[in-house]
Symmetry: C2
Subunit: 200 residues, 2 copies
DNA sequence: ATAAAAACATACTAGTTGGTATTTTTTATA
DNA sequence: TATAAAAAATACCAACTAGTATGTTTTTAT
């Protein structure tokens, strides 16, 4: 039983280091040896715990990337309070308060989405699942906003959800090629205009 | 003189094949040998024309990617006609009419942006330049719309431009992890709502 | 026609990659 | 404390990578 625990701890460490390296340099540019060096272990240990690199990639997506999106963008949506304010809080305040590191490296999910080829279906469905969960949570919130009369009735909740997610992921990529936050501030202003127009 | 022409023709072919392979599989997953095999030439020919892989990458961005964005998204913005209709035409109609291949593989510029690491400054500034050109053209059009009273006066043209670009690039990435166009249609509806709200 | 230069091919190197085979070390338990 | 299983290390391999060195063919200029 204690051995099982140690095994899980080791795997956790590998996944943690892998996430950081994948986030900073991409999955393709990161070798197993790189990950294991960061985890202060050797390749032998890796292949004792994992079948291959893809298995690690999927675990990083499902455990690290998923959790990040969940904690930062999905969970706050189910808070009590004015739905409009929650949207502003989640999409506006959050991006403002990102540390430099996160601004520079973009969104881990978006990085993955755009790095993988269209034939890597295992990665795709794992990523799609995160987007779908996010979208569903947004739709629920927007519908609540409609019920509580703080969001226009005659707009498609799905469409707004998808448009919000698209713009958010888009700017996280675009910000990477800039050296400053000016473009981020323009996005924020643009988002503010967008959100204001959703009010009845 | 004829040799100069042949040299340029060969380079054009290399750049063409490189663009296709980079677009479909990413620049990191594409080797020089892959490119030259597609171009029906050998590695020796490549290094006769190019210093290294990065020089090719930059040429692909500056010649192929830039031209694609320019022709598809920038040039139409300077057409005569109602600015609002031009925006709808460019952002709505264009994405609808994308062939399956383009939907599946996303936006070449966005793929590049999200594949490259944040230390690859040469690529970044080449990509930033494209975004900046696009943004400037959009701002010009939006300002014209304001002058001609078909776009609200009290909104920031820059912010709208950035928000439009962000959402467009974002959805092109997100679409890649889906197998169908439903998400694309939701984006289109979301964009339609957004554009309508810009009207006075 | 011929020499030089450009275009391209061939063969190679040194380093990296994902993955495997085998051995050593650690740990749990009887 | 002996032993079996799990964890980790070592050593390796075949394939691939960017890039180089050197050769051959083609084109151009004289």
């Amino acid at each position: 039983m204690q051995q099982e625990l140690k095994s899980q701890l080791t795997k956790q460490q590998i996944v943690q280091e892998a996430f950081t390296l994948f986030y900073e340099n991409g999955i393709k540019s990161t070798s197993i040896a790189d990950v294991m060096k960061a985890a202060k272990l050797t390749k032998g240990a890796f292949y004792h715990h994992y079948k291959n690199k893809q298995e690690l990639g999927l675990e990083v997506i499902e455990h690290k990337v998923r959790k990040r999106v969940y904690d930062g963008m999905i969970l706050p949506l189910s808070d009590a309070g004015n739905p409009m304010e929650i949207l502003e809080q989640t999409f506006l305040s959050r991006i403002k308060s990102f540390p430099f590191y996160d601004k520079q490296n973009g969104c881990p999910m978006n990085n993955f989405i755009n790095e993988i080829g269209n034939y890597e279906t295992a990665y795709q469905s794992a990523l799609k699942h995160i987007v779908e969960t996010w979208k569903a949570a947004l739709i629920t919130l927007i519908n609540r906003g409609k019920n509580e009369k703080c969001i226009k009735q005659n707009i498609s909740s799905e469409a707004v959800a998808v448009y919000l997610i698209s713009a958010f992921e888009g700017i996280r990529g675009i910000r990477k090629v800039y050296n400053d936050d000016a473009i981020l501030n323009q996005y924020i202003t643009g988002l503010q205009i967008y959100l204001d127009q959703l009010k009845p």
